[in-house]
C-alpha cells in the first residue's frame, strides 16, 4: 500500500502597500522556491493554494511536510510580489485546516 504523503498548511500574511491577489502570492512563493532550490526542489514541495481570507489579508497554502522548512525559507526571502515591494510572514502552520483556523 502506498503511504499517503503528509502535508502542512501554512497561513501567510502579506505586508504590502499594494493590494495583492492569491494567485500572485502563490506565484511569488513558487518563484522563490525555484530561485533557492531549483526546479527539482520545487517539484518536491507540492505547493498548492488552498484559500484566500480577504478580511484577514491571509493566504492559506499547503506543502509537503518534508519540505516545510525549505518552503518557509523561500517565503521569508520574498521581497516583492507582482513587482511591488512586499514581505510575507508565516502566521501559522498546522497539519489540518481545522487546527490552522484555530491558530490564526
Amino acid at each position: 500500500m502506498i503511504k499517503r504523503e503528509k502535508r502542512r498548511y501554512l497561513a501567510l500574511e502579506v505586508a504590502s502597500e499594494q493590494p495583492v491577489d492569491e494567485r500572485s502570492v502563490l506565484d511569488a512563493v513558487q518563484a522563490s522556491v525555484i530561485r533557492l532550490f531549483g526546479e527539482y526542489g520545487a517539484s518536491k514541495t507540492n505547493l498548492k493554494l488552498i484559500t484566500y481570507i480577504p478580511e484577514k489579508h491571509q493566504v492559506v497554502i499547503c506543502c509537503s511536510h518534508a519540505m516545510l522548512e525549505k518552503v518557509r525559507a523561500a517565503i521569508a526571502s520574498i521581497m516583492e510580489v507582482n513587482g511591488k515591494p512586499a514581505a510575507m510572514h508565516v502566521v501559522g502552520v498546522s497539519g489540518t485546516l481545522k487546527a490552522l483556523s484555530k491558530k490564526t
Binding site: L36, A76, S77, M79, A86, A87
Partner: protein, 243 residues
Amino acid sequence: MKRFADLHLRVPLEDQTKAESMIRKASELGYSLVGIPYSPQTSRKQISQLKQICNDAKVDFAARLNLSPRNPNELLQSLRRYRRKFEIVAVRCHTKDVARQAAKDRRVDLLQFSVTNLRKRFFDEAEAELASQAFSSLEIELAPILQLTSSSRIRLLSRLRREVETAERFRVPITVSSGATDEQLMRGPRDYAALTTLFDLPMSSALRGLSENPWVTVERNREKLSPNYVAPGIRVVGRRTND
C-alpha cells in the same frame, strides 16, 4: 516557551515614527528583546524616547554599540571608554588584527564581518578558538541575505556555511540577528530560523541563536553593569550603613 531576541534592529533615531513602527512590528512578530544600536554621542532625550517606545510595545530594550575600529589600539581605546555604557558591544572587523584582538577580548560580545567583501571575513579556525575562550559570539545578520541577489548571495551563503561549521566545531555561540533597517526586512524568529537552513545551520542551533544565546549575553552584561557586581560569581547582596 522561547523568548526571542533581535540584537540588531537598526531603527532610524532621527525618524521617531519609523522607529516606533519598527519596534511595534518586532513585538508583533514575537520578539521580547531588541538591541538597538546608537552612537555614544546620541542625546539622552532620544535614548529615553526609544526606551519609552519599547516600554509601550512591551519589548525589552538593550543598548548596543557598534564599533568599527581601524586597528587593535583603537578598539582597546573604545572598549575602555564605552564598555560600561552599553549592554551589547559588537565589533565589525575590517582587518585581521582587529578580528584577532576582538575575538580574544572578553569585553566584546559580538563579532561581525563584512557581507559584501568576503575577503574581509576573518572567521577561521584561529579566530574561532580565540572567540570560544573569550565567550564572544559570531553574529550572523540575515537582512543582507534578503537584499543580495544571485551570485553575491550564493557566495555569501557558501562562506556562511563554512563559518557556521567552524563555529559549531569550536563551540563558538552563534547569534542570529536581523540587521533590518526597515519593516520590509523584518521577519518572525521562526522564519529567520528557516532562512538559516540555507547555510546548513541546524534548526536547534538557529533557534538557540535567536533566543538563548542573545539573552545569555544581555543578562550577563546587565549583571556586570549593575552596581552590585564585584567579580564573576560574586555580588553585593546587602550594604551596611554607618550612621
